[in-house]
Symmetry: C2
Subunit: 138 residues, 2 copies
DNA sequence: TTTTTATTGAAAATCGTTTTCAATAAGTAT
DNA sequence: ATACTTATTGAAAACGATTTTCAATAAAAA
């Protein structure tokens, strides 16, 4: 698995491959931390100086549309993005260093069925996210 | 339970009770839908016309600080607030009408312990939110 | 009632994001 | 390789949401 997977995805969906997009993909792909558009901009500009912030926004938009990245919601803000895991994944975030781990937690079925019965809701989706301290920070 | 609970809380924490704050509290307290600052402004101005948007922001800030309201995170945006439930509560949101229900789902203990063991993380907090269709909308 | 000072709304400033637009460069056809 | 078409680019401007500044006001204390 390398950045070429994302590049191919962009290509297959009719998007052109440019130096700007490569720089953004190289920056976000495989990052262990969720990155905001400005953070992506700062990092990616080390690889491609002419990159504009607008292009970062536009590229992130496309990567999100192709489900290659996902927005991360946190108490401090909801502008950061991280690589989208494969299949239905949940996030575990380190409150100290911001590192992100994925886990699949579909033990939630019995819980959601329970709530559905109690409330009368037809449940379609769920968001689950854990916060704590990673091995290095605890 | 009435809005006076929130008013007292403000008072007890050294904040003055004003017409502007009463209008905001009256609007947000007991609302079954999460409201954005602008929505609060529009609704509250029906009760107190001189109210300014800035004061809405400032009052919401104080209510959040006192844990009387909480920010609601949704795919469409994360600016809306709703009354904070009592104790540790989770949210169930109707994707159609925006109605919000609370539920307590601490069946998560075994799941979080599991993840903690697998990842080495020390887990401090969790966010769980369900989305679906309420009884009226399904 | 008087005094003190937190609170107010309006205007300006600020921040993140989106739109506009002419120049450029990617991919295709020649 | 070369020419052509058109998606993509970055800069500047526009935008919307939120925050700051500030003099006037009103709540609470004296």
């Amino acid at each position: 698995m390398s950045t070429e997977i994302w590049i191919s995805q962009l290509q297959d969906n009719g998007y052109r491959i440019t130096s700007a997009r490569r720089a953004v993909v190289d920056t976000v792909y495989g990052s262990t931390h969720a990155l905001t558009p400005i953070e992506v901009y700062d990092k990616a500009r080390k690889k491609y100086r002419a990159l504009g912030l607008v292009t970062v926004y536009r590229t992130l938009e496309k990567l999100e549309e192709l489900h290659l990245i996902q927005r991360v919601h946190q108490p401090i803000g909801c502008q950061a993005f991280i690589s989208a895991g494969v299949g239905h994944q949940h996030l575990l975030l380190c409150q100290n260093c911001g590192q992100v781990e994925f886990f699949d937690g579909d033990d939630l079925d019995s819980l959601t069925k329970n709530i559905a019965r109690k409330t009368g809701y037809q449940i379609k989706e769920h968001w689950l996210q854990l916060f704590g301290l990673c091995v290095d920070c605890r």
